[in-house]
Symmetry: none
Subunit: 232 residues, 2 copies
Amino acid sequence: MVTVVLVSPRNPLNIGAAARAMSNFGFFDLRLVNAYRVAVDEARSGVNAGRVLAEAREFPSLAEAVADCHLVVGTTGAGPRDVTVPLFSLEEAGPKMKRAKGRLAILFGSEKFGLSNEDMSHCHWLLRIPTREEHRSMNLGQAVAVALYELIRNSRARAPQPPAPPGATAGAEDRLLQYLIESLTLCEYIKPPVDASQILKLRRLLRRMALSEKDAVMWQGMLRQVLWKVKQ
Amino acid sequence: MVTVVLVSPRNPLNIGAAARAMSNFGFFDLRLVNAYRVAVDEARSGVNAGRVLAEAREFPSLAEAVADCHLVVGTTGAGPRDVTVPLFSLEEAGPKMKRAKGRLAILFGSEKFGLSNEDMSHCHWLLRIPTREEHRSMNLGQAVAVALYELIRNSRARAPQPPAPPGATAGAEDRLLQYLIESLTLCEYIKPPVDASQILKLRRLLRRMALSEKDAVMWQGMLRQVLWKVKQ
């Protein structure tokens, strides 16, 4: 069970974006701490506000918001020297969070100041999204999206794949090769007598294309038409 | 080298958010195709607009925007049954993109409609962020952040990969496409006027071939020779 906690969010668009990313990735428990009143109302009345925003709960303090959580993880753009709580990269944090038993809370601070030292004191540890040193601070909605993506990464069944189209047989490729050689000879790209190295070169070219059966048929049709025209 | 391409973005906040995530994760080449004029101006004048937005380039067409790119990857919320281009989950796409030689372009469609079929025909393949079936569509700025996070994820500990031959740029493939269309029209395989769906079909065929730079040059040479002959 995963809970997303926004601490002191100010911007209704960010609250909405956080909720949208949660819904995209299948998380539904959003909690707001000390949120800017107008921002929450505006977010909740947004056209795209869905179930996550409708069910979001508000708390006057962080302690109350995370009271039922078993693991509390804060997010920060800060480096390890700036914090007094263990700090992991998001990649390291992912498996630790997935292994967590009970309810996991992931905390995001306000757009302007991030989590305060007091907020961090509620955390078991912190995670940092691996942004550049020179531009560490992420947009709140984007930070939520990236952190949640790491949580579901590889956990969902792979995107269902269309069955790979059947490949052309070597025989079909060689028929194509014959058309190609005949066309190129008639067009004087190849000068007769055709030598073996030219055939090899063209066969390798066709093999590298790794044509499907259908594409090979399409190429055959095109080359047959070229042959017909050139022979006129 | 990574390029982010926003196709027909409408919302200045999303353009700004995409640029911010790029800067956070260390990517600086942003290209805008057919962007809503007012939105671009507003985004560029935003208080947090940094280097990425200042240097963002605008293009009238997607073909021009990706002409110098070797691998073109589109993003979609659609399932495999809805698209005609190979589709991978973001987790699968990550290593493939990291291995790419030359310039990689990642395309994001408009907020409302995503990438069109025409846009997708410019792509070698598509990636899908693993959102829930019931709520697939992500906010544009968040989708950019998540996709780029996957690209830099664990990048310090990347496994060395076998070198691949440099791929043909999208521009080289499109020149090849022009030769092919001209040849096929002269050979009466295509009856003029050439309609858009035929061009899409042929562009997809070429993208599926995933030609190397060298092989694209070879095909160009062969088709030029066909053209020369047929015009005689």
